[in-house]
Amino acid sequence: MLSIKNLHVSIEGKDILKGINLDVKPGEVHAIMGPNGAGKSTLASVLAGRDLYNVTEGEVIFQGKDLLDMEPEDRAKEGIFLGFQYPIEIPGVSTVNFMKTAVNEHRKYKGLDPLSASDFLKLMREKKALVEIDSKLTNRSVNEGFSGGEKKKNEIFQMAMLEPKLAVLDETDSGLDIDALRVVANGVNKLKTRDNATIVITHYQRLLDYIVPDVVHVLYNGRIVKTAGKELALELEEKGYDWIKEENGK
C-alpha cells in the first residue's frame, strides 16, 4: 500500500530525514516511536504534502502512484489521512459544513454525486456514535475553543467520516487523559479493516496498550534504526531511548 524508499527530507537546508525505508501493507498497524526531534512529525507532514519541507532524495509510492507528485488535497482524496498533533482551529466554520465540503470533495474525486443533506446528517450520526463523540462538538466551529482531548476526538471523528486507506496519526496521544485516550484508541480500532492501514506516531508506549501494532519502528536522527514486533514498544518503555541513542552513536 505504502512504500517509502530512501526518503531524504530537509528544511531550510537542514537534513531531517536521512534515508527512510518503510513498507506498509493493507490491514497493518505500524507504530513509529522515537525521541523528540527524531523526525517523526516531519515524516507525517511529508506524507500529507506539507510544502515546508524539501524532499531531496527518494520516493514514496502509495497504491502504485507517486505520492510526492500529488497536491495535498489529492493525497487526501487518494486516501491519506493525517491526524494532526495540533489540530487547527477554523473560527466560524461549523464542523458540519467543513466535513460536508470534505466528504463531497472525496465523493467528487471518485465520480460520485454529492450526498444529500439528509444522507450526510445520517452519516454523521453513525460516525459520531462509532467514535463516541459528543454532538455538541460537531455543532461548533472546527476545533474552536476545544480542549486538547476534544480536538483529538474530533480528528478521529473526521477520520471516521473520510474512511481513509492510510491513516497517519501524529502524536494523537499527546496531552490526553486516560478516558480521552481510550475513546481515541477505540475509534481507531473500530475503524480498522483488512483493507486499510494505520501508522501511529507516538513518543510513549501508553497508546500502544490500546492500539496494538503489528510492527514497531524506532526513528532516531532521521533514520529508522530498529524494527520489530509489538514487544519493542515495551522494551522502549522500560529502558527509555538512551540505549538506542548509544547504539547509534549520539
Binding site: E73, F84, V93, F98, Y109
Partner: protein, 483 residues
Amino acid sequence: MAKEEQDKILNEVTESEYKYGFVTDIENDDIGKGLNEDIIRMISAKKKEPKFMLDFRLKAYRHWKTMKMPEWAYLKIPEIDYQDIIYYSAPKQKAKLESMDDVDPEIRATFDKLGIPLDEQKILANVAVDVVMDSSSVKTTFKEALAEKGIIFCSFSEAVQDHPDLIQEYMGTVVPIQDNFFAALNSAVFSDGSFVYIPKGVRCPMELSTYFRINAENTGQFERTLIVCEEESYVSYLEGCTAPMRDENQLHAAIVEIIVKDNAEVKYSTVQNWYPGDKNGKGGIYNFVTKRGICEGVNSKLMWAQVETGSAVTWKYPSTILKGDGSSSEFYSVAVTNNYQQADTGTKMIHIGNNTKSTIISKGISAGKSNNSYRGLVKVVKNCEGARNFSQCDSLLLGDKCGAHTFPYLEIGNPSAKVEHEATTSKIGEDQIFYCNQRGINTEDAIGLIVNGYAKEVINKMPMEFAVEAQKLLQISLEGSVG
C-alpha cells in the same frame, strides 16, 4: 438556505478574473462632458423636473464649487478631473413598458448574465426589483402589489413627478447639500435612484431590491436613494451592484437618506461589487458614498448590513443619528480588498436620544497589496442619558503585503454612557489552509470557507438572497490571493 446550494455556489466559482466585466451595447442619451450651471439646467430639463428640484441642484452646485475634496481618509486617490466626466446618460427606451417582453433584449440578456432576479421564479420568490441601468429606471416590478398597501417604491425621477410633496419634504434632510464634497456633487447632478415610502403601520411584505450598474463609458454614476418609514412600519431594502470591466476610472458618488419614525424599523443591506480594477491596479470604480439614516422616532431601529468587495477606492461610512429615545442601530460590515484596492470605510453612530443603543461589527479582509481601513465614530452628546455602544472591529490579513488599519473615534459627552470597543487582527494561516487541504479541500475553496466563517456574523444578517451572493463574492474577490 440549503447547504447544498451554498456548496454548489462555492463550487461553481472557479475564475479569478472579475466575472461581471462585460459591456452592454445600448444607445446612450449623453449630454457631453463637463459640469456647469447650464449642464445642471439641462439635466433638470431632460428630467422635466419641477422648479424646487432645479433650485436644489443649483444651490448644491454653487456650494460644491466652494468645497475641496476631503483628504483625511487613508486613501491615495489620483486627481479627478470633474470637467472630464459625463454627468448624465440614460439608456434610450421605447415608450412605457407593460411587461418583461417589452424590455430591451440586450438589457435582459445582461440581467440574465448577472442573474438578476427579474424572471418569473424570482417574482414568485417575492422579490420586487427596481432596476437601475446606468441612470434611469428601466423596469419596476410589483409596484401595484405594493401600492395596494400604500407603499411607494419607484425610481427617484418618478417620485419627483408623482410625489413631489414627499420629495420636497424629506430630500436633503438627513444628508444636507453642504454635508460633504461628494454629497454636494451628488445633490447637484444626481440622475436617478430609488424612492421608498412605507405608510404608518405597514410592514412591507417583501424585500425591496435595486440593482445598480454602471454601463456607459466615462459616465459618473450619481444615485440617490430616499427611504421614509412612517410610524410602526417596517421595510427591508437590498442594494446590489455589479459593473462592467473598464480601464477608465469611474466616479461614483451616491447618497442614501433614511428616515425612521416612531417604532418603525428599516434594514438596509448592500452587496457592493463595483469593478475593482485589474491585478495591477489599473481601472476600477471610485466609490464615494454618503449613507445616513435618522432614527427620528422613539424606539425606532435602523440596521445596516453590507458586504463590500468591489471598487478601486471606497470611501463610505453608513451612519445613524439616534435621535428618538430608545432608538437603536446596528452596523454589520464585511469589507474585502485585494490587489491594489483601497477602502476607508466604517460608520458613525450619533447618540442624541436617551437610552439609545448601537452595535458595530466590522470585519475587514485584506489581501494582495491592498489597504483596508476601518474608521468609526461613536458620539454621545451631552444631554443623552444611558447611551450604549458595542463596537467590534476585526481585521483578517492574507499575505504580508497588505495593510489593515483601525481608526476608532469616541466622543463621549455624558458620563452615563457605556461604550465598549474590541479589535482583533489575525492572519489566515498556512496551517488553516493545509488543514483543509489535508481533508481534501483545495486552497481556493479553503480560503472561501475560512473567509466565510470569519464573516459569518455579518453574512447571517443579510437577507437570504443576498447571503448567497455575498458568499460567492467573498470567494471570487479573494481568488488567487494566496499560494
